[in-house]
Amino acid sequence: MNKVIEGVAYVLGNDVDTDQIIPAEHLVYSLSDPEERKNYGKFALSGVPADQAGLPDGKIPFTENGQSESKYSIIIGGRNFGCGSSREHAPACMEIAGVRAVVAESYARIFYRNSVDGGFFIPFESVKRMVEEIKTGDDLVIDLNASTLTNSSSNKTYELKSLGEVIEIIEAGNIFEYARKTGMIPSA
């Protein structure tokens, strides 16, 4: 597993629900077809109300001009990130758009579980609320060994909570690889 994740921040607020992450009308595309799945990147975070999109200023689109990849690869969130539906299209669309980590104050449980079990990206919890500490566009570095988040733009470092027991699934890659490692399902 990569021990350092570098990327540009995209900052959101509290209770970012799965309808904001990927509005239901877009849940019709294939997640497995290599071309069709790009639609998910294109519409990732497209339901976020404009004034909340890319804080503190807002009105910053996550992806531009119909592109399926975003220049922002680390999402900063507040409380209860990913609440609402069980749609795995939510973490999937973020991964397709290039997200490699989310750092939130807390998560809704299905979204958190889907992120880990599906191996889409690493959902970190910050010790302190980060939404007001980081601006959209800041350069960030996450150090997994030190369990820290550094804002290179402001030169400040923050503590992340331990990934706890899910670290084994994250390190394996997803729930299937974890189950193979532990002998629960036969190795491919």
Partner: protein, 433 residues
């Protein structure tokens, strides 16, 4: 130490004498449910991980209920139904309820109950967050993503962290104009949209046990709106009467021990409950209906897993009978069975269908419809900056379609009363006058 009903069911399915909150356990799954939105992705992962020719762990335990994007011209949505059909054929799955056939049901959570898949003491997972609905039958049920569902398809098992339980007890009797929707919106307003995150919401007390199965389903349905892992109500005679009419399958009744440990306990006096709405744009944005009477409405929507059951339409019809709606009003039965009941059940000699039509409401086909917006041609989809009163379970920004729309969540009584006046209205005005 005593265990809660949730802990007992999980322990039994993990082959353990006891479990405590925080334990990570592997449980045996009794039923896996999926639908048209998450089925195709689930099947793709299953094939990738277990092989193109792999077979599901138990054909009899897989239930596939298309319900989300059904009556639409959207080619991708219709293609997804074809993917369900193909998988069902490849796997010879018996429990599939195909679109365009007599077997079509509609909204999965009510269809599970009506087709006998909700059985006390069992463990049910579904690729839909409102799978918590089934907890009304004294079973453990929760929503999962495609990956976890694919894992179950291949193994029949899933890892679960045993949740702490929260106990919500209602003593006494609910007033006649208060419905389960008011009760759950009240509780979500009290604890917040993350107030039950990772926890079980257990409902107790004589007022809860006086409710019908459909009303109990409404309580458990919206556990997820407080972040809950599951909602649960001990099975009683009301439960077993319902279940026995739907299935001959055996079941096990678990009850929480008197010395079970709860993370949180709150007792409400049922008689003090009032009609409640959740204002835009969050299910915990609670207000009394009496505080919102100035809110002008553009449309009313009565439908969904939480507001489209027969009980919900009996309530709405009671108020709409002999009157005219003042705003566009959409009636969407959750399932075909509910739809058929609308033609059979009568109030004062008039069928519910006639009551709704004569009141000027529009009747849609059974499905999730505009509860989650859906494709552009979805029945009842919110447009522009409309203000909607809805019996559905979520009012996140854009949830019912337009990002500019404003959705107030309410009971069927409140939605019907408001449809008659064009502004948010306390149903007591119609019920007691």
């Amino acid at each position: 130490m005593g265990m809660t009903i949730t802990e007992k069911i999980l322990a039994a399915h993990a082959g353990k004498e006891s479990v405590v909150p925080g334990d990570n356990i592997w449980v045996d799954v009794d039923v896996l449910m999926t639908h048209d939105v998450c089925g195709p992705g689930t099947f793709a992962i299953f094939k990738k991980q277990f092989g193109e020719n792999a077979k599901v762990w138990d054909r009899d335990k897989v239930v596939i209920i298309p319900d989300h994007f059904i009556f639409t011209k959207d080619t991708h949505a219709n293609r997804n139904i074809d993917i369900l059909r193909q998988f069902v054929k490849e796997q010879s799955l018996p429990h599939y309820f195909d679109v365009g056939t007599d077997r079509y049901k509609g909204v999965c959570h009510l269809a599970l109950a009506q087709e006998g898949f909700n059985r006390p003491g069992e463990v049910l997972f579904g690729t839909d967050s409102h799978t918590s609905t089934s907890g009304a039958f004294g079973m453990f049920s929760t929503g999962i993503g495609n990956t976890d569902a694919a894992f179950i398809l291949g193994t029949g098992k899933l890892w679960v962290k045993v949740p702490e339980s929260m106990c919500f007890e209602f003593t006494g009797t609910f007033p006649e104009h208060v419905m389960a929707k008011d009760v759950i919106l009240n509780v979500i307003g009290d604890i917040g949209v993350d107030g039950a995150t990772y926890r079980a919401m257990e409902w107790r007390g004589e007022a809860v046990m006086s409710l019908s199965m459909e009303e109990r389903m409404t309580l458990c349905n919206m556990a997820i709106e407080a972040g809950g892992k599951n909602g649960i109500i001990e099975a009683d005679e009301v439960t077993t009467n319902y279940v026995k009419q739907r299935t001959d399958a055996p079941y096990t009744i678990y009850k929480s021990d008197d010395d079970a440990q709860y993370f949180f306990k709150k007792t409400y006096n049922a008689s003090e409950m009032e009609p409640i709405v959740a204002k835009p744009h969050s299910p915990d944005n609670k207000a009394k209906v009496s505080e919102c009477v100035d809110v002008r409405l553009d449309r009313a929507y009565i439908g969904s897993c939480t507001g489209g059951k027969l009980t919900d339409f009996m309530a709405a019809a009671r108020l709409l009978k002999g009157k005219k709606v003042q705003i566009d009003t959409f009636i969407v039965p959750a399932t075909r069975e509910v739809e058929q009941d609308l033609y059979k059940e009568k109030i004062g000699g008039e069928t519910l269908v006639d009551i709704f039509k004569n009141a000027g409401a529009y009747l849609g086909d059974p499905s999730c419809a505009a509860c989650l917006g859906g494709p552009q041609d979805t029945f009842g989809r919110a447009k522009d900056n409309q203000v909607v009163i809805s019996t559905t379970n979520r009012n996140f920004p854009g949830r019912m379609g337009s990002k500019q729309s404003h959705v107030y969540l309410a009971s069927p009584y409140t939605a019907a009363a408001s449809a008659l006046t064009g502004h948010i209205t306390n149903p007591a005005e119609f019920i007691y006058n």
